[in-house]
Every structure is written in structure tokens, then in C-alpha cells.
Subunit: 424 residues, 4 copies
């Protein structure tokens, strides 16, 4: 399924006058509207291949219809998102859920939609049919060297798939850990994991990065062997210059100050990328910006400031990915909302008056520092985001067009009601 360019054009024509009124207003309020619009247009967020189907919990899963049945259909879905918002120009593949049997075909298909392959994801948190050893008690941390070897080999295989597709990064999210006190010797688990990562690191092409993700809990409920940013940083520091820490917003203990973590990882040159989502209780994997939008803004505020201080390119300096699960929404609509939230927040962070903020900080003028941030956050930047989409050939209101075009209905018609995409 595909949305014809003419449909987007018609949609935009209808909305143009209203949009222009809003844009003119905000362009008159901010100094650098054109610059912001350009930066927004350049900013692309990768869609994970597992986020295109309905997600579930241990208690159940309520699939919708028209879910992609194969990698090709997943690429089609992401292509569709990208047509609409021109901000989803990358795909983050998960192996073995989405092994490309014919990589050059897949690569060409993606290119057709303007998509590139972002970080590849390995999976050693599930057992696959035919697998020799089980990951029940861990993978890279396992007490049994043979099982570690199996997990290392899988990661190296994922790198190989990635090379074939033009990716340049491997994300390692380890579920490894323990459910009960005493189950693990923490030091030994760390050392095993480090050695395993070192072997994977050795297989990394020169221009590749490895992202070591951390998570406080789940699926292990007592300890996680890469449990927080401090542990991830220990690993990535010991691994070498191609190793970076990846931050997933939902992987922290309650009340954690994530923006400070982001700032310090940038300072250390060890921030690699992001998994965007939102949460209220744990790793709830909700739509980005749906629960704590101001926290997201504070994180983007640190990203913009910290990347600028290092001269990093916002669009390419870090890996930007969504990692959400959609239990009660149409996955594509959910992703459109997530991307919109990210673009709005990035725009707000670009609005922050850095000079005034730095002065306020220098004077311990806490009130003004707050005013500066809140001014940016309270500004309605949606017209800037829409302008960036318009400029890039996307739709002024992607979600509205998605609905009026009856995309889901068509996907159900094409694929059926009972399809189930691979993933969580």
C-alpha cells in the first residue's frame, strides 16, 4: 500500500491557509524559524521493525488487523510513515525476527522508500526453534562458555546481516541478569559479559559502533547485568572507542534524572543513541511524550546543548530510534504520534535561548533559568514542525491524512484481519 503524492498534495492544499496563519504567527515570534525548520527536516528517527504490530504483555495481546506478515511488508509500513511525515527515514532491524533472506533486494526496497538501515538488534533473550543452548539463565553472562559462544556468534551474525544492508551499528540489549538473590555471582557475570562483548567488539567493522543498552529490571526481577548507565559506561569504557551507551527512556528506576545522565554521557563522549518511549510505572513502552513531555524536553535540551558544545551534527551524531509497544492503538498511528512528539520537543529545545540560560546559570538566577526553559516549552511549535514536513514533501497533518486515506482499512483488506507481526 502506498499513498500517492497527489493525495498528500490535496491534503496540504486544503490545510495550507490555516497552516500559513499559524506559521506566520510563530515565525514572527521566534528569531530563527527558517533554521529550525531546516534542522527539523534533517532529523530522522528510525522505526524498529518490531513496532509495526500490536504489542502485548505477559497477560495477553489483542492484535489489530493488517499487521505486516514479512520484512517486505514492514518496510512498506515504514515507507508509508515516511511518506506521511518525512521524518522516519530509517529502519532498525531485529534478528532473528527479520532476517533478510535476500539483502540486496531488501536494501533496494528500502531505498525505494527513502529508508536506510539504522542500528541492528540482536536477540539473546528468547530461545529460537532449533537453537542448541537455551538462554534461560542468560547469554553473554552465562556460566557455561558454550552458551556464551553461541550468543557471541549470534551477535556476529547480526553484524554480518547489517553489513549486507548498509547498517553501521549494533545494539546489544541484554536481558541477562537474575531473578533471585544468590542466583548470580555479580562480578563473574560482569566479567563473562565483558569478555563476550569484547569478542563481539573484535568482529565490528572499523566504521561501526556498538551500543550497550542498560535496563534496571525485566525480564529479570532481581538484578540486570547491564543494569544502569554506570554499568553500561564501565563496559563501553573497557571495550574501546567504538563502544557507546544507549539510553532507553523506560529503563530507569523511579524518579531517575535521565537528562543529567544524558549530559554526563555526552561529556564523556560515550553517548551512542536513544530508544524513545514513555512510561509511568516501569518499562511501559508507551507513545513518546504521552506521559512526561517535559522530561522529554529536558532531555532534548541537554542533547542540543551538549551536541552543540561538541560540534556534533544533531541528525547524524547519535542514533535516534523509537522503542515502543502499542497494546491499545493502531501501531502506525502510535508511531505517527511518537514522531510528532519527538519533532515538537526537538523544535522546543532548539528554541531555548542558550545565551540567556547560560547567563542565568552564571548568576544563579534560578527563576530566569526556569523562565527560559518554560518559555521554549510553552511555545506552540507545531506549525514549525508542519512546515518542515511540508518542505520535505510530507503531509501537514500525517495522522489526519492516514485516517482519511483509510490506510488501516486497506492494510486489513490486503493482509487480512488475523495477521500477527513478529515481535513482542
Amino acid at each position: 500500500m502506498n499513498i500517492e503524492k497527489s493525495r498528500i498534495a490535496i491534503h496540504n492544499d486544503v490545510l495550507l491557509a490555516t497552516h500559513q496563519r499559524s506559521f506566520d504567527y510563530i515565525a514572527g515570534e521566534v528569531e530563527n524559524a527558517g533554521d529550525i525548520v531546516n534542522k527539523l527536516a534533517a532529523f530522522q528517527v528510525a522505526i524498529p521493525s518490531w513496532a509495526l504490530g500490536t504489542g502485548g504483555t505477559r497477560f495477553g495481546r489483542f492484535p489489530g488487523g493488517g499487521e505486516p506478515r514479512c520484512l517486505e511488508e514492514k518496510i512498506t509500513d515504514i515507507g508509508l510513515l515516511h511518506q506521511l511525515n518525512q521524518s522516519s527515514g530509517a529502519i532498525s532491524l531485529h534478528i532473528p525476527w527479520d532476517i533478510p533472506s535476500d539483502p540486496s533486494h531488501i536494501k533496494a526496497l528500502a531505498a525505494q522508500y527513502g529508508l536506510r538501515f539504522d542500528a541492528m538488534n540482536s536477540n539473546t533473550f528468547q530461545d529460537q526453534p532449533g537453537q542448541v543452548f537455551s538462554y534461560k539463565f542468560g547469554s553473554l553472562q552465562h556460566v557455561n562458555k558454550d552458551i556464551r559462544k553461541q550468543a557471541i556468534a549470534h551477535n556476529i551474525e547480526v553484524i554480518r546481516h547489517g553489513i549486507a544492508l548498509g547498517s553501521d551499528a549494533l545494539t546489544v540489549w541484554l536481558a541477562d541478569g537474575s531473578c533471585f538473590p544468590g542466583q548470580l555471582n555479580f562480578r563473574q557475570a560482569f566479567q563473562h559479559t565483558l569478555e563476550s562483548l569484547q569478542e563481539i567488539y573484535a568482529a565490528l567493522p572499523d566504521d561501526w559502533k556498538i551500543f550497550v543498552e542498560y535496563k534496571a529490571a525485566e525480564p529479570n526481577f532481581y538484578s540486570t547485568t547491564v543494569g544502569d548507565w554506570g554499568q553500561s559506561l564501565l563496559y563501553t569504557s573497557k571495550l574501546g572507542p567504538k563502544a557507546f551507551t544507549l539510553v532507553d527512556l523506560g529503563h530507569h528506576l523511579p524518579n531517575a534524572n535521565i537528562e543529567q545522565i544524558v549530559s554526563l554521557l555526552l561529556m564523556e563522549g560515550k553517548l551512542g543513541g536513544f530508544h524513545f518511549n514513555d512510561s509511568k510505572y516501569g518499562d511501559d513502552d508507551l507513545t513518546v511524550g504521552s506521559i512526561k513531555p517535559y522530561q522529554l524536553f529536558l532531555i532534548f535540551n541537554e542533547l542540543v546543548e551538549g551536541m552543540d558544545a561538541k560540534g556534533m551534527n544533531h541528525a547524524t551524531g547519535l542514533g535516534w530510534m523509537i522503542d515502543a509497544s502499542h497494546n491499545v492503538k493502531d501501531p502506525l498511528e502510535d508511531l505517527l504520534q511518537s514522531i510528532e512528539a519527538i519533532m515538537i520537543t526537538y523544535a522546543q529545545a532548539l528554541l531555548v535561548d542558550r545565551k540567556k540560560l547560560a547567563e542565568a546559570q552564571q548568576n544563579n538566577d534560578v527563576v530566569t533559568a526556569q523562565e527560559v526553559l518554560q518559555h521554549a516549552f510553552r511555545t506552540d511549535v507545531r506549525a514549525l514542525v508542519a512546515a518542515a514536513r511540508l518542505q520535505a514533501g510530507g503531509a501537514l497533518q500525517p495522522l489526519a491524512l492516514y485516517r482519511t486515506e483509510k490506510v488501516r482499512e486497506q492494510l486489513i483488506h490486503e493482509r487480512g484481519m488475523k495477521t500477527v507481526a513478529t515481535g513482542l
Copy 2:
């Protein structure tokens, strides 16, 4: 100290054109701008008498200068806030920190500033000089009946003070609880507290309300005898129709869904009022809206919807109070920021398209329900809030005017650098 009306007028004149541009824009975006402005103008938030000085923690306190040295100066400070924003037209007194020796004089002074006396606050969490019994082990819960009687008598005295000032509500925040397992018999503590509250309730004038505040922890670190909304509701249900639960945003366990609590208390007809503040870790008593502005919006969304459903007047149906502590900001600036955050959030809640939201809920259209709320929250309503102030005779930008008028400098000049206001 007083800001002359002419100074406000000059300030507004200078900013008027810019304001008008913003107002015209937003008035063109929303259907009911005039109605919203009127509602905003009617909405008043009480300032607690203890919030006018620099707050502290158990580790220290770093006072600023020019803090009010007596009740008269506190009223002056609140009057000043009200002059600036026309939204702080009430004062919430704390006894014994602010016993009015001459109530009619105090009442007249307040009236001069357009201030009325909101809920009175008793204090049985500290020992006062000359007090017969100590509250070290609780007050209304105490195992010793004489101590309970002393605490009851104090509350009744607070009611008496309130009557003299024209107040019509008593807020009981009980620090009662325990620091260690075994310290209390929970049931006995509950029963003692209930009996004590019943005696206070009996002393309540017919047109008065009693607000029973709850708090999860601090200053007691193991249990609190009015620890959550469920416990407060048990007390207020047993007490009778004049008893209501008071919600303080910082008094919950991590991740609590406060907006749902608010909705259910309204449903039960037992929500009495609010203590506004914000927090990241515990009862941090930070500036309203400085940490989780979307949570504040969701709470106001429930308030508007729930009060409308019951036909309650937004401005007078519940008690609206700030309860914040300012450790690193000028208290008056902090209060201006808090009030601004409340007004912005109330305005956004008024913007919610209730019909569309109800339809989305009826259709389980979660995506649209989110869009409706986010649309309201993402709208920049500051010009509406400013218009309400302008209409009521306040300043377009209260904080800016406060600074250009050098209010704090003048207060320091008048009162000195080393003053310390009573309070926390």
C-alpha cells in the same frame, strides 16, 4: 511596599502591542477565548502565610533578605502579588505562626488589598514554647488522652481565629504516624485520630468545612496515620458532610495516578481542595508546574470535567491553595511562577474539546483521546492568561514588572537583610 497603579499601567502600555498580536492569534484559534478569559479572571489561588520566606531542609536554610517580619508584612507581600497578577486574592493562615492579635485590624488590612481569608491551618507537628505536652509521638493519634485533648483544643482555637477573620475552612495536616515498625497499633492510632477529629468537627460552624490532608511519609518515616487518599476518605466519610479530603500533589508514593484520585474523590463528593506544588523525589515542595506540567494538566482536566459534571463553580467549588517551599528562589518570584503555571494549566484544561473527548472514549479511540488532550496542552495560552490579568487590572508580565520595579531590593531596604519569616 506597594506598586502604584500607574506603574502597572505604564508596564502594560509598553507591552500592549506585542500582547495584542499574541492574543489576536490565540483568540482566532480557540472558540471561546472571551469565556476562558473570564473564568481565568475569576480564579483565585490562596497564598499560604508560611510561603513568603525562604524555606529550608533539615540540612540547612539559606535566607534571602526582606522577608516579612510579622503578619502585617505577610499580608502586604500577598497584596503585592495580587496587585501584579490579580489571581492571588486569598491568604491561608497558619496558627501559631501567624496568630492575629487584632483580627479586625488584620481583616481590614487584607480587605484593603482585596484579600480574603481562605482555609486556616493548625499545627500539631511542632512543639511551641510553653506548650504543656509534646507532640513528639503524635497529636490527634496520641496514646495519651490529655495530649489528644491539647491538640483538639488547638484546632478549635484555630477555628475561632478563622471565624474572626472570615475564613470558612480548617485544614488539618497531621504529621502523626510512626518512624518504626511496632511503634504504633495502627487501628488504635486510627481510632484515636478519628475520635479527635470528631471533636474538632463538632466545633465547626455550620458553614465551615474541614479538610483532612493525607501524606505518605515525612516527618514520620514508617507510617502516617492519614497516609493516603483512601485513609483520608475513611475519616471524612465517618466524620460527616462538612468533612472533605485535601490533595497535596507532593504527598503521594512514586508513580501515583493523582488525576484518577481527584476524579474519584469528586465522584464521591468528598474532594475539598488542593495544595499545589511540584516534586521529583518526595514532598519536594517545588514551584508548581516546574517538574511535571503535564500531570498538572491532567489533574486540571479532571477537575474541570468533574466539577462541570456536578455543576460546581470552578472558582469557589473547591479550596485552591499553594503549598510550596522556596529554598533557592526569591519566595515572591517563586509564587508568581507558581500562579502563572496554575493559570496556564487551567486555561489549557478549559480548551479541552469535551465532546470530542467523550466520543473518542465511547469509541475506544485512544489515539484521538490523546490528540484531544495534547492539542489543548500544546496550545500556547499565555496570551489568554495575560488578557485575564489585564482585564482585572494586573500586569501583563508580573515577574518582569516585579524585577524592573526592584521590589525585593525595596523590601530588603525596608525590612533588612537578616529577617526570617516564620514557617518551614
Copy 3:
């Protein structure tokens, strides 16, 4: 599979001398050893039918072998546990996972193992094959009356199954709630749920109870429609005298004081029963007592004190059930550990010197109150628990015997390696 009595006898003979030494020591330390042993022997904890297989998370499931393939085998498994510890004399069935096609046969089979049927559990958090309406957006709360009716009918059917089996209680755990702000009108969801519960209540036999369980989050990640004890108490108070609140230890927000909740629910006459488990992060469903054993002790301390105050029989006054999930342990071993932890904790709670504790509380002697509790908790009561088992015909060391008898190996031999029990 069955453990012959003679095997238990041999096991006990070997260990008897060692046990006797320990028992003699502890019997000399505590005043009422015989009484405690009798109470322990009378105390039975129901095993849920879904806890006999390996549990999982949304990320995966790593089954062991020999899991029960049908209700008969589940009863066999529980019978086996009961043979070993003589404390697992009840089964809590889950419908539709374990519909008894021939209730009288099932009842007879259970009786053969000395098992009775404790509370029945309904399931409206999953869709079953052939089900007309989906519970994707809730069941008893649903905006669609037909869906509520379907869920009500299911609960009434569960009652009917329970009657046939001799059960006398229905546990309603509702996953109902919302994942996003705006998804639900909280009041409407409450009212719908209340009305649905009232219809179920009306179908309850006179001597039955209904337990309304609460849970803070999961599988819904923004709100739960029976979210905390306060909400459950609202429902059960409105329902009537046969309705009670059920406490599951893992269903609270971080840092909640569960023992105080237990005490207050007992005070109100509205505590119905327990789901035992343990957790560190969320509803981790770990082995009872494996993470916070002192919290479990404090809860039992309140139970013993509160039930004694009301003259309730410890063994029969409340519903005692385990609700755990075993991801990395043999389920039967896990259950043996859970029961052992419960019995140890109950024994410690029985040891508490109530008179001394009450005196310390009356004198605000916090130090002594702590000493009294810690003395009980620090006492090694395992010999008392073992004595109760011995007296009842169980094994001195159930777990050790389970292993030496190679029970799991036999179950695998009988049932195969690849069986998967119904459940989570």
C-alpha cells in the same frame, strides 16, 4: 506421580535426631511451642492452578519439563506438594484455563489428596477462542454494555463451576484500566465496574464471598480501574457484606506500607484474603519471602494481632493463596519454598510478645517495640514449622525429599519434556 508414605517416613527417620535437637532448643526458648505447632499445622495455603507451570514475561518463556497437561495433573501436583508439607491443602482454580468438565470427578480426585477448592478466579483479561467480544478495552468497565454483560456472565459461570466443586469464594482480578491519559472517563469506568460487580454479587450464593483485588499497574500502564486498596474498599463497601478486598503483595506502588493497609482493612471488616508473592520492582511474582521477608513478617504481625482482636480463626478467617510465577525455578520447588516462607513467618508472628508490645506502644517506647518485633523475627523457628509438618504426616524437609525422590525427573518421564501448562 505420588510419594509413598513409607518414603516420607524413611526421610523423617534419618533426620529425626537432628530435628529433635533443634526442636528441643526452640521449645525451651518459647513459651507456647505446642500451641504454635498446632496453629501451624492447621494453616493451609491454597495453590493456584496456574502456578504449576513455568511462568514467563512478555519477552519470553523458558519452560521446564513435566508440566501438568490437564486439570487432573495439576491436582496431582498440588497433592504432591501437600503430601510433602501438609500445608497446601487447597487449590484455587482459574477459569477458563481449568474448566472442570466433570466436576464430581475432579472434586473426588482432589479429596483423595486431601485438597479442597478455595476461591475461584475469573479471567476477563484475555480473549478466548470463540469469544464474541474482545476485552482489549476492558471488561466490567467497558463502554459497551454488551461486553460488560459478557464479562458478567463469565463471572457468574465461574461461580457455577465453583459451586459444583465446593468452593465458596470468587476472586475478581480486573485488568481493566487504561494505557493513556484521556482513554477513560475515570468516573464512568468506576460506575460501569460497580454496576457489573453488583450483578455478579447478586448471583453469589449466600455463603459465598467475592474478593475484589486491586493492582496499581500492568497490564494497563496508565490507570487501573481497581487501582489501590482505597478503590477496592469503595467497591466492596458499596457492594455489601459478602464483598471483601483482596491484597496481593506485588500490586502496590513503590514503598507502600502494606501492613498498615492490612490492619485498616481488618479494622473495617473488609479484608478478604491474600495473594502471597514477593517483588523488588513491580508485580514480579517472585517466591514468597525471597526479597523482603521482614515486610512479610510485619504483615503477618498485623494479621495475627488484628484477627485475634476480632476473634477470627487464623486458618479459616481469611483466604490464603499464593500467586507467584516461576520463570527460572522448578514450579513445585518454588511453591515449596513459598509455603515454607509463609509458615516460618506465621510462626514468627505468633511468637510476638503482644503484651509487651502493647505496653511499649502505650509508653511510646519505640526502642522496646522494635526489640519485641525483631526478637520474634530473629528467632529461628524452622524446627517449629518442621514439627508441625511431622505431626501432620509431612516431611521434615520437603524440598530435600522432593529432590532425593527425583520427582521432577519422574514427571518429565511421565509427561514429557515439552509440556506447557496453561497460565501465564
Copy 4:
């Protein structure tokens, strides 16, 4: 005040038979009773000079009587504790609360009681009378270099005091951080703090250590500049081999796995020492072991295992200190309870069958691993702890003797009812 040795002897004589019965029992149960008793006797926990008076919260403070009025009296109090339990043979001084005007006199006085001076504590979280610059906005992190210099100089002065007293470590707990988003540039705050610490480090004698403590929140409520173990490790790694991380049990986010942190810091050779206390909600500073005794056991389990793996001496390898606050208990009684909890837990950790645990871990036998830990924790080791005290000349039941000797009454008689010790 002093307890005569003869009083202790009489106390012990009376209790000896009962003790001997318990000791004989437990000595028959464990393999290495004598060895454990010796290790317990060697283990000393430092008492902080600020913990001898009643603590408070921001809401109030309810002093008891007989609090020490000067450093000499504080040393007397600790001497008294040490007489009773022979496990409190060190004092941790706080500057400027306890500046020794005559160090050699103070040193001699301490020696008289068998006390040595453990880590010195600096204070840059409060302003002292006559201080040039305020720490309102931080100290070592401050944007103003002059203020950083003042804070550095203070720390160097504390080292000087420590040298005079024979201490060999400096504990730096920094309250530095921010209360609001935007207040700080996180990277700049980190860099300033690092540079300041480097200057302090340079002033450290060769045989000294510096402990960098971390804390998640309070008194700053948005960010802390040494906020978690990862941040502390960044500082101590950059500082050099004399710098170590200090763990305070109450300084973590909810649900943190502190034992894993301890294990990894030991692995990195960067664990310096401990501040023992307990908590339910935040940094509650409650009596050690009063809320989560099993967590304390799991921490000691890692300490014993990790220190043994590195060949570290348990008694001297790390700094052991209490950091508690006593709001509702006699401070000396509270400290006796804390020390008792530490000794019990250390004894239990020594009981862990390391060989069996390592085997279980190697086999992923999670059930047995749990059994091994729980067996140690469930063992009643109080007789071992008492035996260690007896052997060292202390009292079999320190708290009981403290009460029968009416120590507090005598202290009140000597010092008066209204004394207030310096500290929190």
C-alpha cells in the same frame, strides 16, 4: 558518665547460663563458631559525632535530654557505647560541628576509651557564622571560583584536623546540585566539582583516602552533582588511587539493587566504605536493619565474598560507619540497636556456605542458591554476637544493661534536660 566493669560483670554473670545454652546450641549448628566469634570481635563500626543527639526533620525536632554539649561529652558517649558492646571503637568527626580545639587532649581522651578516629567529615552544605561566601548554590560545584576555593580550603582544613587526631580518611558528602531544571549546566557543575576535588586530593597525605559519597536527592530536589555510584566512580577514577566511593544505604532511588553496586565497586577496587542506616521512603536515616534486614544481609554477603576474593581484611579493609538520625528514640539506644543489627548481619554473612553457593551458581540451581542464603539469614546468630562481646569484655545484652544502669537518667542529671547536640 562511665559504666564500671564490675557492673558489666554482674550483668553478664546473671545472664551467662541462658547465654551459654544458646551459644552451645548454635555452636553445634555451625562449623566455625569460634572463627566467627573472633571476626565479630575484631569488627568495629565508627560512630559519627553528630548521631549522639536527637535528630530532626524540616518540620521540627523533639530533643530528649542529656545530649552531649561538647566534643568531650560526645567522646564520652561513644566510649560508653563501646564499653557496652565493644564494637564501637571509632569515632567519625564532623567539622565544623566538632572542631577539636586541643587535638592532643581529644586524642588522649578517645584513646582512654579505646577509640580511634575514623574518617573526617567536611561540611559545605550549611553556612557557618562569619563565613565569607554562602553555599546556597553549591560549594565545590559553584560557578564562582572564590566560593569553590573557600570550600576547598575548608576540606583541606578538615584534613589537617584529621591528621592531628590520627585519622586517615576524608569523607566528602556534597549537597551540591540543583532544585530546578535549568539551574545548572550539568557538565560544568561536574567539571568544577572534579577540579575542586583534585585540589583537595592533592592535599591528601600519602596514607590517606578520600571517600566521595553519592546521593540521589535532598537537600537538592532536582539534581545532585554526585548523584549515584556511576557519577561517584567517574570522580574517583579520575582522581586517582587514593579516591574511593562511599555507599550510604539511604542515598538511592527506589528499588535500587545496592548489593550489586557494592559488588561491582569492590570488583573495580573503588569501594571505600559505608554509611549504615535504613529507610522506607528516602534518606530516612532510620536504625540499621529496622526496615529491610534482608537487604542488609545481601549487602554483607557481597562484602564478605568480595573482600575475601581480594584478600581484604574485613575489619580494616573498608570504612564502616553509621549515619543515622534518631527522631523518636534515645540516640544511644538507637546506636546500640544499629550496631547489634550490623553484627548479626555480618555473622549471618559469615555463615553462608560459599562453596555450596558457588556450585549452585555454576549449575544455575537458583533454588539451592536461595536456600543457602536463606539458611544463613534464618539462623539465629545472636548468641555468636553476644559471645564476641563477652570475649571482648562487653555486655551480653548492652541495651538491657544500658536501661538497668539508667544511663540516660544519669546523663540528664549531669547535663540537663535542655541540651542540644550539634548536628542535624
